[in-house]
């Protein structure tokens, strides 16, 4: 059997405030999968995603990436882990006052010494790589624009280009389309799908929308109140299954 790329074992997370983020999660993800995580706000989707690149530490359990436990990584080792995991965010998180080019190049700093990157001494290859990444997301014409001049959908595509600069094996996307309109939503989701198909990057996306999940996912994982309540490949997913994931939501709205 093929070794899983990400192996999450009995992971729990309790925040300092006492809030339970995750409860005993077990999940393995294979290389090349396109996984969509669904669930209500506060179900733990963001927390789960952020434990994979250690933006959050787990309280209990273990996470293995390519067979190696990552939960005790520190300093340089941690930064090396993070640089092979791209991340995109609901609010895009581009540095708004910097140019698109500088934003995209900043995705590469994990490969540079402090001095070289701080002085902006990026190699010719990496500058070309930035152009290629922008071409990949169809944003090459905006390379010299300031990030805050772009629309939301354009910013998210630049953010994807920035993540591509890391040469990521895994791409984490935390509600990437929550602040976008339906048209740009499709452009961004198509982009993620293409990275997955063309470049073989494993993609994990948090989504609110069930129809979108059904449309793009190879596999759907459901979280409810920090627990994993659903995990099926797309062929077996029934629309009715989501009632259990969103159980309680209807009652709250009454």
């Amino acid at each position: 059997m093929e070794e899983p790329l990400i192996d999450i074992r009995n992971v729990s997370k309790v925040y300092d405030s006492g809030t339970v983020g995750l409860k005993n999660i077990n999940l393995t993800i294979k290389k090349g999968e396109f996984v969509v995580v669904v669930g209500l706000s506060g179900a733990g989707k963001s927390t789960l995603l952020r434990t994979i690149n250690r933006m959050h530490d787990v309280t209990d359990g273990d996470i293995l990436i390519e067979g190696k436990s990552i939960i005790h990584y520190k300093g340089k080792e941690l930064r090396k882990l993070r640089r092979k995991i791209g991340m995109i965010f609901q609010n895009f998180n581009l540095v708004k006052r910097s140019s698109v080019q500088r934003n995209v190049l900043s995705g590469r700093v994990g490969y540079y010494s402090t001095l070289k990157s701080v002085l902006g001494l990026f190699s010719k290859e990496d500058k070309q790589k930035a152009v290629d990444a922008l071409k990949q997301v169809k944003m090459a014409d905006k390379i010299y624009s300031r990030a805050d001049e772009l629309s939301g959908g354009q910013q998210q595509r630049v953010a994807i280009a920035r993540a591509l600069m890391q040469d990521p094996k895994i791409m984490l996307a935390d509600e990437p389309i929550a602040s976008l309109d339906p048209l740009t939503t499709k452009a961004v989701m198509d982009e993620l799908k293409e990275l997955n198909r063309k470049l073989g990057i494993t993609v994990i996306v948090n989504l609110h929308s069930v129809p979108l999940a059904m449309q793009y996912a190879d596999r759907i994982v459901g979280l409810r109140a920090g627990q994993l309540v659903y995990d099926k490949p797309i062929e077996e997913v029934q629309e009715a299954d989501f009632d259990s994931i969103y159980e309680g939501a209807a009652k709250q709205n009454e």
Binding site: M55, M87, F89, L94, K96, V109, G110, Y112, S117
Partner: protein
């Protein structure tokens, strides 16, 4: 359920606002009584004021030549002092910002030092610096450097604390280290504020440095002291006019540049 609730008694009569207003008025009257502020005294002595104005009404224009050099020195003191203060303030403000340094002990120590520096008034600093490095402009430069350091580091770290942390998170998630996060995600967000605060502090320092000379810390203030001590009000008038022009020009320039930044 879906009804507008009744306001409480305190809410209806704005008790909080009334109480604070009464307290403020009591404090104001109390302070005036204790310090012996007397309007009558002020107006009965106003003749003195006009006689002084009269003596200054004939500026000694030949004195202008002598004033120019110290005016330039005053500006130089302000430029060098503000720059030194700013350069030292940048690393301090980065360490004092809550969103960049999670360790409350380190942050607390740095902030304590900054608070300590800020409690020293500029005139006291000038007196100390004159005692340390002697009479002359270098005492003024050090005074302004320390004064600007205290002020700028506070303005800077408060400005850093208002930035969008999502942009830092993105860099951290890409594997950037501390310095790379500062240079790529923090500085672009604050640099315009930094320049604006630098100009603002420079403005204040130009004004302050005209007075510092009075304590022997160089610049135009030294001439001011000489002319006042020798009751040569026609010279004093020239000095005051020169100071006024310089301060107005610097204020205008700095305001113009700061507006351009936005």
């Amino acid at each position: 359920m879906n009804e507008v609730p009744k306001r409480t008694f305190a809410q209806r009569f704005h008790l909080k606002f009334v109480a604070w207003s009464v307290l403020f008025i009591v404090l104001l009257c109390g302070s005036a009584a204790l310090t012996g502020v007397n309007w009558g005294e002020f107006f009965s002595n106003i003749g003195q004021f006009f006689s002084l104005i009269g003596k200054m009404a004939h500026p000694d224009w030949k004195y202008v030549q002598i004033v120019i050099q110290p005016v330039i020195q005053t500006l130089q003191m302000a430029i060098v002092g503000t720059t030194i203060g700013t350069l030292v303030a940048v690393p301090f403000s980065v360490v004092a910002a809550r969103n960049l340094v999670k360790n409350p002990v380190i942050r607390g120590i740095i902030r304590f030092i900054l608070n300590l520096v800020r409690t020293l008034p500029d005139l006291l600093l000038a007196a100390i610096m004159v005692a340390i490095v002697g009479i002359g402009p270098s005492a003024g430069v050090w005074t302004l450097a320390i004064f600007s350091f205290g002020m700028i580091s506070k303005l800077f770290y408060e400005s850093i604390e208002t930035i969008d942390n999502g942009q830092l998170e993105a860099l951290r998630a890409a594997g950037a280290n501390y310095f790379q996060i500062i240079v790529f995600a923090v500085l672009p967000q604050v640099i315009e504020n930094f320049i604006s605060y630098f100009l603002y502090t420079f403005e204040i320092n130009v004004r302050a440095s005209t007075v510092l000379g009075y304590l022997g810390a160089g610049g135009i203030g030294m001439l001011l002291q000489q002319s006042l001590d020798s009751f040569d009000y026609s010279q004093t008038a020239v000095i005051i006019l020169a100071t006024l022009i310089v301060v107005l020009v610097i204020d205008g320039l700095s305001n113009y540049l700061r507006e351009k930044l936005d």
